[in-house]
């Protein structure tokens, strides 16, 4: 805790809140599309200080939440049916598959290793030459370049026991799909700062140009989010629709060209299924031919998994901002973080878990 943040943060927050109150003269619904934003908003108590006519809805920005159950089942199938170590990010451990979660599979003896960085999976493959290591690659643009680098490295090291179960998705096509569906009235977007560190702002221009809706690429500190809201409200007041950058200390309009190049050196764009939303054209990534020997879906004989989602769960509608978690009949009763039904209750960044944990 440094002295500066101690004295000045509440004052700056108050200044920004005054601006928000003066601009928010009518009802507005803004959507954030990043799990980190969902959690930051709850953890900092931002909703508790915003005027009542300003609504913040959470969109499909939590990578765990939008992973269809059939892909979780594919991962579980792999660890149960072959001499395989699954390397996965921690949030996926508790997501229920049809039969069990990875956490339960591990308790029954399956080899599941939690990793922090995709390179950890490459190291693991190097160390465990006698086993097959499968990287369960889940994430958005923020994590994809690091995954691409890991794949290139495994290729360079000629690791024959390293595989990738790709469950990677792209944010801009999901936003376009929401805007097209017209089910949700969204007055503006709080866009994820981390994603734009990689892709810049260009891929979002359609939001402003084609759909006449403003967007602000925003950072993750409470003050960043408040300032992002001020910028959105100012655009609304001045009837402008632009993609602006609040998170200027990390984001440039061009993004990180090298990271994007690496991404598309390894992956190609494909249609992808989003949990509860359905198939969104050109919203996923598959390994390019050069790397197809590492594609777990091609190497292992994984049967076709059922695409059926659990009955009563409205994660899909929640992910599209159509409903709030407490509107789900299962919320807090049949579905809790201890015994979750849908992914939004599992992931630490899921809307349901955040609503449940931080008591809205």
């Amino acid at each position: 805790m440094n002295q500066k943040s101690k004295t000045s943060e509440p004052e700056i927050a108050e200044k920004l809140l005054r601006a928000i109150r003066s601009y928010a003269t009518q009802n507005f619904s803004f959507m954030e599309v990043c799990g980190t934003h969902t959690v930051a908003i709850f953890r900092s108590g931002i909703r508790s200080v915003l005027p009542k006519n300003l609504r913040i809805i959470s969109g499909p920005g939590c990578p765990v939440c939008v992973t269809p159950m059939k892909e979780i089942d594919e991962a579980i199938y792999l660890v149960k049916n072959s001499n395989t170590i699954l390397a996965t990010f921690g949030d996926l451990m508790k997501v229920p598959g049809n039969e069990c979660s990875l956490l339960e599979a591990r308790a029954r003896g399956a080899k599941v290793k939690i990793i922090l960085s995709p390179m950890d999976a490459v190291q693991l493959a190097e160390l465990e030459k006698g086993s097959k290591v499968v990287l369960f690659a889940v994430g958005f643009e923020t994590t994809i370049p690091a995954i691409a680098v890991a794949i290139k490295e495994a290729f360079r090291r000629e690791l024959k026991n390293f595989f990738v179960l790709s469950s990677l998705r792209l944010i801009p096509p999901a936003i376009e799909s929401l805007l097209n569906s017209k089910k949700t009235a969204i007055d503006g977007f709080i866009l994820p700062g981390h994603v734009s560190v990689i892709i810049g702002t260009k891929p979002y221009q359609f939001i402003a140009e084609k759909y006449n809706t403003p967007g602000v690429v925003t950072g993750f500190e409470p003050l960043d989010i408040l300032q992002g809201l001020v910028l959105l409200l100012r655009q609304k007041t001045e009837s402008r629709s632009k993609i602006e950058i609040q998170y200027q200390r990390a984001v440039s309009p061009e993004g990180n060209k090298k990271a994007v190049e690496t991404m598309y050196e390894v992956f190609e764009v494909t249609d992808s299924q989003w949990r509860g939303i359905g198939t969104i054209p050109k919203s996923g990534l598959a390994l390019k031919d050069k790397y197809s020997s590492m594609d777990a879906r091609k190497f292992f004989d994984i049967p076709e998994m059922s695409a059926e989602e659990p009955a009563g769960c409205i994660c899909g509608e929640i992910l599209q901002g159509l409903k709030l978690p407490p509107q789900c009949k299962l919320f807090g009763k049949r579905c809790t973080p201890e015994d979750p039904v849908g992914p939004c209750m599992v992931s630490s960044e899921g809307s349901c878990a955040a609503f449940y944990k931080y008591g809205k």
Partner: protein, 336 residues
Amino acid sequence: MTNDKILLAHGAGGKLSAELIQKIFLPVFDNEILNGLEDSAVFECESGKLDFTTDSFVVKPLFFPGGDIGRLSICGTVNDLSVMGATPLYLSVSFIIEEGFSLNDLEKIAHSMKTTAKEAGISIVAGDTKVVERGAADNLYVTTAGVGKIADGINLSCSNAAPGQVVIINGYIGDHEMAVLLARGEFSLHSEIKSDCAPLNGLVEAILKTSGKVSCMRDPTRGGLATVLNEVAEASGVGIIVDEDLIPVRQEVKSICDLLGFDPLYLANEGKIVVFADENDADIIISAMKKHPLGKNTAIIGRVVEEPKCKVLLETRIKGHRVLGLLSGEQFPRIC
């Protein structure tokens, strides 16, 4: 000893068992009651209230920055006695050891226990050792139990918190769990963070000597500060409001938490104490705590209120608020 590994015979009650006791435990823990080698420890007891507790310790790795399973097992029990206002007197120690465990490590752990017991001013007066087959345990488990004496007039309980009281903590939270987590090496992160593992009886004594208006004390171990606050709010039927800005968290712990998606309020501590006391005595308690080596970074972090009953609210840095609930299961690192 001829062998440098623990064998099943070390737990069989024969020659090797005797050798283990004679060569490691007796010389290290050395005190009159233990040296008698009776089946149980006999000691004098004054009239008044006694306090009794037990705790088991499993930690991976056994040695971590700032401590080891030995130090942990002494502090855990000493602290559980202390927060009830007791003066810890005697401890028992039981080991469950996996066959093949290093004798050298066992000796190191015993020495660490001795040093920590000395720091706390208590004696280890009873013990037991069992050895299980390889694979039936993970290296070493330790259980300690302890007896303490509570002076007349001291009545601390987690159901005693009431409006008009403040919440005080003796320093940085989250260091222990973060140090152990990083010592496992799973995250390939390196840091200078050390476990805060320490016996708190000296600090507690200083607090109780200073003020008679302490209502409740707790050590925020597993589940961290947020869990302890919830337990007290629930048991006392009160609300507790804590201020995010006042809760001491090291920048390093905070940064790693941000990276992993963890919340430091839920990380375990082994040398922290949360004190509930009348706000009128807050100043003298804080100055007494700050004079103690384990209380240099003492801070008031919140207050007890009438409403909302049985809930803990966190006032955030932007003056918003959120409910601090109980943790569901383990914290897992997130994706991005």
